[in-house]
Symmetry: C2
Subunit: 110 residues, 2 copies
Amino acid sequence: MPVGRRPGSYVCGIDAAMDVIGGKWKVLILWALDAYPSSRFGELRRLVPGVTEKVLTSHLRELEQDGIVHREVYEEVPPRVEYSLTPLGTSLNAALVPLGVWGREHVLEG
Amino acid sequence: MPVGRRPGSYVCGIDAAMDVIGGKWKVLILWALDAYPSSRFGELRRLVPGVTEKVLTSHLRELEQDGIVHREVYEEVPPRVEYSLTPLGTSLNAALVPLGVWGREHVLEG
DNA sequence: GTGGGTGGTTACCTCAAGGTGAGTGAGCAG
DNA sequence: CTGCTCACTCACCTTGAGGTAACCACCCAC
């Protein structure tokens, strides 16, 4: 179960990490799941304004394959699916904090 | 002189930072300029295997516009152009270190 | 029956990032 | 003379990520 979409072709760690978070909305999904753990699909759609259902689905599937998010299906009617960060996802988010601080200080306030 | 390609439309700091480093080869360029300061164009082309001249040029231009790299032209024959990280670029690279460590530990060695 | 909410799937389309290959013009090696 | 280096520029083309919209089964409230 390799992490990343092009295993074995990474030049360095940043290159590899960029591949995992490279989707247009992935860091926003991670940010949302960090702020609101165990979110349902519809909640995420509202938490990440602008993302379409198709793209949200595919991003979540990729993050799940990479071991970043956990997908829990409850066999109920109506169906319920909850997404949460795995420990790996939590560690990824922690590694993203300095980048977020940099962006806030130098891009948003720049 | 705004930093980033879509000023004013960022949701959060990570979103903004991702825009600055969003090019396919930008983090590799930053990594190369950190390891080999004041590199010439041809050196960068060799340090970032696979990048084409056109894309390397445009990525360097964008990084220059964002205040990440400095471009120094020496009016000589043959022409000489040296690229280096600005203080802002150095701080960006510092903010990328944890992400690089994460990628090395969890993707490359995963 | 109509509409809404649940969590998706499917087919189709767009568009911009990136790749390809040629050209530039001065100088230098062979 | 040929070809290479330097640091690009230009015109063209490809590709795939992402966007659009329809559709699915199921249930509830109105």
